[in-house]
Subunit: 240 residues, 2 copies
DNA sequence: AACAAGAACCTGTCATACAGGATGATCGGA
DNA sequence: TCCGATCATCCTGTATGACAGGTTCTTGTT
């Protein structure tokens, strides 16, 4: 193929659905639509863009898959608040097709979450500090119930991300949630001794306390230790 | 609403398309399909899942939007290699709806990319080192041509991400590419003096040299400086 | 002014149709 | 036997029409 520098983005000629997706996102941009705002009905868009309702529907489905809009029976499509659902599925797909391994995800999480706790220590509100401490406490209380423990663990990391006051951090942490629910039990089961399990809980408590105390170095250090421990647990379980 | 802890994931009852998406992803998982492998035809899936072809098509479109599968006229749907296209659109949507601001994206990029260059310095192959140096050189050569300069800049950061040998890092860097193409010119125009522009190029060269020399601290430091400079440029341009 | 009933609108799903691209089987020739 | 061209077949992209059920707005009543 002769190298032509031109790149056609989402809208390839001949792909009506792609073109329509482009038209709709342009509409959102130009009309400055905000989350909750309603889009025109499928019929109106179809007439306006000179395509069949089929095409508009497939474009809507595409945007809904990326959580850019929300669909519901009878109602008109609305603009979505940002949500990590789609990213979660993308990551899961990468892992299930062996394009990403769990270790690599943990490396990225470590990078991001050590930064998150440092920011959280500096920026958290008192309510957030309380919530984070409470979740660490809930983890200890749920030590005998892995499912509950995992849920609290995920909520703990999500709360930290929110306290960092940067929605992009929260989005990325959320993106790893899907695959984490699938690998977390492996890590937990590989911690066979009471000491190993106690250590994991205690580390979370240390993180929570450092964030509550407003100490970014301590928080980062504890989070880093948490990841050392977790990666080790996964490796010892034989996870590539 | 009474707090029910149960969360229904993608597949809500009554939503045939959602159910079908679930069935297809399960199929991918259970049959261990790899990128390039072909899925059953729409007609076959429709019959097997007892739904109309319409529903299968909308499910396919959803998966294609997330770049989990690839569609093409006449051909059967195939499994996709991981790709940041969908994430790019999600981020752009977040920015355009004021749910994310550019500063927050740069904070995340700084966190990630300072780590990326450290890893790249340790792991890059000689070919990658050459490529990275070449791209820095190309940036200097294109100083008079902003469009070309930007393209080289993006390619530079992408090459570093690849050299980190962690596809998740590459994925995240790619996710910011879409919005970056929209904000980059603002930052460049705000560098009004020849010195400011020279500094930006020189910083990229320092990063490239540190990575080529295998010096992670130097590389991280230079990257951090690059982001200090970039954030300042954007702020001085009035970008929230 | 509050409210309730009904009309009008909208989405979810299905069936059918057809143009044009892709693929594989078949058959003739070397 | 092997290669290559041809063509039937399969497959996707798009359009149209239909209908069930959910939502919203209007209108008329109290």
């Amino acid at each position: 193929m002769i190298g032509i520098g031109l790149e056609v983005a989402v809208e390839m000629v001949g792909d009506l659905v792609g073109t329509t997706i482009g038209a709709i996102t342009r509409l959102i941009r130009e009309q400055d639509l905000m989350p909750g705002d309603r889009l025109p009905s499928e019929a109106v868009l179809a007439k306006e863009l000179q395509v069949s309702r089929t095409v508009v529907r497939e474009a809507f489905r595409s945007l809904a898959a990326m959580r850019i809009i929300e669909l519901a029976t009878g109602k008109r499509a609305t603009i979505s608040p940002i949500d990590h659902g789609a990213m979660s599925l993308i990551i899961e797909h990468g892992v299930h097709t062996d394009q990403i391994n769990v270790q690599q995800i943990y490396d990225v999480r470590r990078t991001i979450e050590t930064r998150i706790v440092a920011l959280a220590a500096l920026r958290r509100t008192d309510e957030e500090a309380e919530e984070i401490l409470a979740l660490a406490g809930a983890m200890r209380a749920a030590m005998a119930d892995p499912a509950q423990l995992m849920e609290n663990d995920l909520a703990f990391h999500a709360a930290l991300a929110r306290a960092s006051r940067n929605p992009v951090f929260a989005l990325i942490v959320g993106a790893f949630q899907g695959i984490t629910t699938q690998t977390w039990p492996i890590g937990w089961r590989s911690r066979t001794t009471a000491e190993a399990r106690e250590l994991m809980i205690a580390t979370h408590e240390r993180i929570a306390e450092a964030v509550a105390a407003g100490d970014p170095e301590q928080a980062s250090g504890a989070m880093s230790m948490h990841f050392d421990d977790s990666v080790l647990a996964l490796i010892s379980a034989g996870l590539s």
